[in-house]
Symmetry: C2
Subunit: 185 residues, 2 copies
């Protein structure tokens, strides 16, 4: 996997893919599925997401202030759903779902080798965690698998159905106000 | 357009479509394009989004506490980009882009007749507005156009390219923990 600048997190997340989130705490790693997230700012690269006490990963995220947002592609659709429908409280999900953990560059949580991209994050603001489980994260490193052929991500319709990425519509020449964000991945 | 329950907002937004946001203030309506948004909770139906002082709509949203999140489809791609690349400070965007405003049920901001769905929202929490322009909204009504044939939404890759909704992957039978959210639109 190549290392790319953390400022490019918006290029991976703004389109709203379903993602996996890893944490590591007290010698155990966990992974959850997450659909409630957004880009908050380009610079610094901040991300908002909802992980609450109802999620087993919450305790580790609170304790360490670190996680990895991994971006899966359509070939992983079944695992993405199954990971979201069991709890790290009962299951070693890396083992059960045959995911390969890899050391991250800057955080304790592991990367997932099978994913297209892995965004290493640190908690930047917890002001709305008590009310909504809403964390403000900052991306601190990104690994991206340029050798991967399957790059179509999945968009969760909220009910267990997903849209795969379809046709690409290129309107870059009409982005007159926002040209500075047209960076390559 | 049919009225559907505001609790179904997550079914329209979790997949991460690019959206339009309307406001109305001092006799003038405006519309902006927004890509930084997420679902925050199912019940009540809360939505997080970023609209800052750099957006012309910010002042109206602050003053009225109301907006409409309209969900456009692929046939509107060009307009979605052009709306995001000019300012309501200089342009009457409803007129320029030939959008048809319709009265909302519960808020002062207008619906957009050309969109697939219109989610009427009120500001529920502004604790992170000063820091990030991050509003917590609550959906209070939804209008949905069941007669529309084109229902593919657009996902912004952050650089002026968009993925249209592609193949539908149905994994509802594996949503064992989350069956209660499998409601029809």
């Amino acid at each position: 996997m190549d290392s790319i600048d953390p400022s490019k997190a918006y290029r991976l997340l703004e389109a709203g893919p379903i993602v996996l989130v890893t944490t590591s705490h007290e010698g155990r790693s966990n992974v959850m599925t997450m659909g409630f997230h957004m880009v908050v700012s380009h610079d610094p690269p901040r991300i908002g997401c909802v992980i609450g006490p109802w999620d087993h990963s919450y305790k580790a995220l609170r304790a360490t202030g670190e996680c990895v947002i991994a971006v899966p592609t359509v070939d992983l659709a079944g695992k993405v759903v199954d990971i979201g429908n069991c709890s790290g409280d009962e299951v070693d999900k890396f083992a059960r779902f045959k995911l390969s953990p890899r050391p991250a560059q800057k955080v304790s949580a592991p990367l997932i080798a099978e994913c297209l991209a892995n965004i290493e994050c640190r908690v930047a603001d917890d002001a709305l965690v008590a009310r909504y489980g809403l964390f403000i994260l900052e991306a601190v490193a990104i690994s991206y698998d340029r050798d991967r052929k399957e790059r179509r991500t999945l968009h969760h319709n909220g009910d267990g159905t997903f849209c795969a990425d379809g046709r690409l519509i290129d309107l870059r020449e009409r982005m007159t106000l926002w040209k500075q964000f047209q960076v390559d991945l």
